[in-house]
């Protein structure tokens, strides 16, 4: 009994502790395997599906060792697909620009002008509505935009219009609701940047004789660019993939790429629907990835959250 044997788990722990490789494997790659299985593998399956490698025979999916571009070819024969892609980007761009224009003054006021003691209170007031489920909020918007709703009531009482105007079911409704839903994602990063601005810097500019407009254009605006860029990315990406809002407040002319994919997967029966849907989904992902890559290259910064 010269050497006391250590319990087995201590030996294993020692082994782990001494090897960097095992540590990295356990810490990084083990959790990452989760993403590989449940996030990346499904895309591989979708890719295989879109290349015609599966065939459905009553609940069974038969693998076919072949590659065909038939689904991609067919996809663009549907006249609606290109229109839907255009429309998705149109909505997303208008939403991004709209959220920026509407929220910048608010973020500016809160971040630069508002005395510190009110900050917490106002941030609280700003965020509370977003605790209500987004579907409920969209639902509330339906009350507002309805022909008998709040907005038309005001417009007709003030005599601005004689007959209620139709908003639900149009592009206007979709874009307005999207702006409403995403505006917080734009305010947050801009406010974050402006709030950290050195107020003395602004005062210095003023004492040096710069007009308020000039201070704003030369100092504040350039300094808030990172926030604006982060905000637009945060708004643009989910906006371009939006499918719930066009479905709930849109109509026959608000079909987006999200809706098209949904329709292929869930309304066209059998292998063909999934093949077309996978193809559309992958093209979609391709577009998004290329755009985000260009964006990040162009901006050079990193996306920051929280």
């Amino acid at each position: 009994m010269s050497h006391r044997r250590e319990p087995w788990y201590i030996t294993i722990l020692d082994r782990i502790r001494s090897s960097r490789r095992i540590k990295v494997f356990l810490l990084v790659f083990l959790p990452f395997i989760y993403l590989i299985i449940f996030f990346f593998a499904p895309f591989i399956i979708a890719l295989m599906y879109s290349l015609g490698m599966f065939k459905q025979v009553v609940y069974e999916f038969v693998f076919q060792p072949q590659i065909s571009l038939e689904y991609y070819y067919r996809l663009f024969q549907y006249p609606g697909v290109l229109v839907a892609i255009q429309r998705s980007f149109y909505y997303a761009i208008l939403t991004t620009v709209g959220t920026f224009l509407l929220s910048y003054p608010v973020a500016y006021y809160l971040g630069v002008k508002l005395p510190d003691k009110y900050q917490e209170m106002v941030v609280l007031v700003l965020f509370t509505p977003f605790w209500v489920n987004f579907l409920l909020r969209i639902y509330g918007m339906r009350f507002i935009f309805h022909e008998l709703g709040f907005l038309n009531m005001i417009l007709t009482t003030l005599g601005i219009v004689n007959d209620p105007i139709k908003i639900l079911g149009t592009d206007t409704a979709v874009i307005l609701v999207m702006i409403y839903t995403y505006v917080i994602l734009m305010i947050l990063p801009i406010y974050g940047v402006l709030e950290k601005l050195d107020k003395e810097l602004l005062e210095a500019a003023a004492t040096l004789g710069a007009s308020p407009v000039k201070t704003f254009l030369k100092v504040t605006l350039p300094l808030s660019v990172p926030g604006i860029l982060a905000g637009s990315l945060l708004v643009f990406i989910p906006a371009v993939g939006e499918f719930v809002i066009p479905e709930l407040v849109g109509g026959a002319n608000t079909v987006t790429l999200g809706t098209v994919i949904y329709n292929f997967f869930l309304r066209v029966k059998g292998t063909m629907g999934w093949g077309l849907g996978s193809a559309a989904g992958l093209i979609y992902i391709g577009l998004i990835l290329v755009l985000s890559y260009l964006y990040i290259r162009l901006v050079g910064g990193e996306i920051r959250l929280g």
Partner: protein, 407 residues
């Protein structure tokens, strides 16, 4: 980290408050849920005890009853849910009753096999297509003695002559509904909604106040009837004419809407007043019907329904049992229960769709309402869809897509 990071801290604070709120809410929810479950449980317990006492006094061994499961997938507004719940409670069935709002979604759900439903309610030609492709089980009529209560005209319908895989659920027509307050002239034929070249037609004078259905087979079928074609035509020229007609009509429409939309809208008619609609839905509006309670007084008398003069699509909805159903016996029990004349009658009185097995118990005023029970003399001009092959469907789908994306 700078301590002046108010934005982040403020955000955290709100987030934290929200989380606490949710926790409290969920706690409340949990107790509400537990309360419900425990009352249920104690009721069951009491019942079980009684049975045990009784049986032991008789010297009989009772097999301990296991909880049965049943998953039903049906249209919204298509059954008296209070009655269905009661059935589930009495029979100790753990019932999952889910709804769909469009048939295509329901069909893909059945064919992917992702979700196991034991009973799905699906219309005639779709049921036939699914059967041909092997997605349905056969229904054992021996386990459904109440099948005999169905009137003769509802057994062995053309799409399933031997009732191998369907049992009729309900039937009806697809026509036009309108609010006579907002559109006093009303409509009586498809021409009223399709004749867009004539500036005096209803559609031109009520431009923007007419809706068609979002369902492709219904809307294309209506256009086909107006043009004098077969409702399930797959002839490319005819389909092109149908698409052209629908595209020409589109600028004068409010839009393509789903059931729940026109059911909300027709009574008030603020947005539109003429809708391509199903008969029982319009009847449901007129009686302001509810899924739980029975109302037999007319509430919105200004809402009307017509079967257009040129003819219309008629349809039968059916119980079917998908191939991947797990609880086939309970599914048969459910169908059998539904076919009891009294049960079917209560469903008819509640929902205002006709459930054929209950005809003899339905009060006269409902039985004679042409909106609910389609009158005999109309049947000559009604068309029933046929089963299409996937290729035929794809052709029709591409023309429908053309309509949907036209601007």
């Amino acid at each position: 980290m700078s301590e002046a990071d108010v934005g982040r801290r403020g955000f955290l604070k709100i987030a934290f408050a929200g989380a606490t709120a949710l926790a409290v809410g969920s706690a409340l929810g949990y107790f509400a849920r537990e309360g419900e479950v425990s009352t249920l449980r104690s009721e069951n317990e009491a019942l079980k005890k009684k049975v045990e006492e009784l049986s032991s006094s008789l010297g009989v061994e009772v097999p301990t009853e296991t909880q049965k499961n049943l998953n039903v997938y049906n249209w919204t507004w298509y059954a008296n849910l209070a009655l269905v719940d009661q059935w589930a409670k009495e029979n100790n069935v753990n019932l999952v009753y889910e709804f769909f709002e469009d048939l295509d979604t329901a069909i893909t759900t059945v064919t992917t096999g992702a979700a196991n439903y034991d009973i799905v309610v699906i219309s005639d030609n779709e049921a036939q297509e699914l059967w041909n492709e092997g997605y349905l089980q056969s229904i054992d009529l021996d386990k459904i003695p109440n099948f005999e209560y169905l009137p003769e005209g509802f057994k062995g319908l053309p799409y399933d002559p031997n009732n191998e895989f369907t049992v009729v659920y309900s039937y009806g027509t697809t026509g036009l509904g309108y609010n006579s307050d907002a559109c006093p002239e009303g409509v009586s034929k498809w021409e009223d909604v399709f004749d867009v070249d004539n500036p005096d037609s209803i559609i031109r004078r009520y431009a923007g106040k007419v809706t068609m259905m979002r369902d492709s087979s219904e809307t294309m079928g209506a256009a086909a009837i107006y043009l004098g074609y077969d409702i399930d035509t797959t002839d490319e020229n005819e389909l092109k004419n149908i698409a052209d007609l629908l595209i020409a009509q589109k600028p004068y429409l409010y839009g393509y809407v789903q059931t729940e939309d026109y059911m909300d809208e027709l009574p008030v008619a603020a947005r539109y007043c003429i809708s391509h609609a199903w008969n029982g839905d319009v009847a449901g509006i007129v009686y302001a019907s509810d899924e739980y309670e029975v109302y037999i007084e007319k509430y919105y008398e200004t809402v009307k329904y017509v079967v257009p003069e040129e003819g219309a699509i008629a349809w039968y909805d059916n119980f079917v049992i998908p191939k991947n159903a797990k609880n086939v016996d309970v599914a048969h029990e459910f169908i059998n229960w539904f076919l009891q004349p009294e049960v079917s009658a209560i469903h008819t009185i509640t929902i205002k769709y006709p459930y054929p097995a209950g005809i003899k118990y339905v009060p006269k005023e409902i039985l004679e309402d042409p909106m609910i029970f389609t009158p005999e003399e109309l049947w000559d001009k009604l068309h029933i869809g046929r089963a299409l092959t996937p290729e035929e469907k794809a052709i029709r789908e591409s023309y429908w897509n053309m309509v949907m994306t036209a601007t």
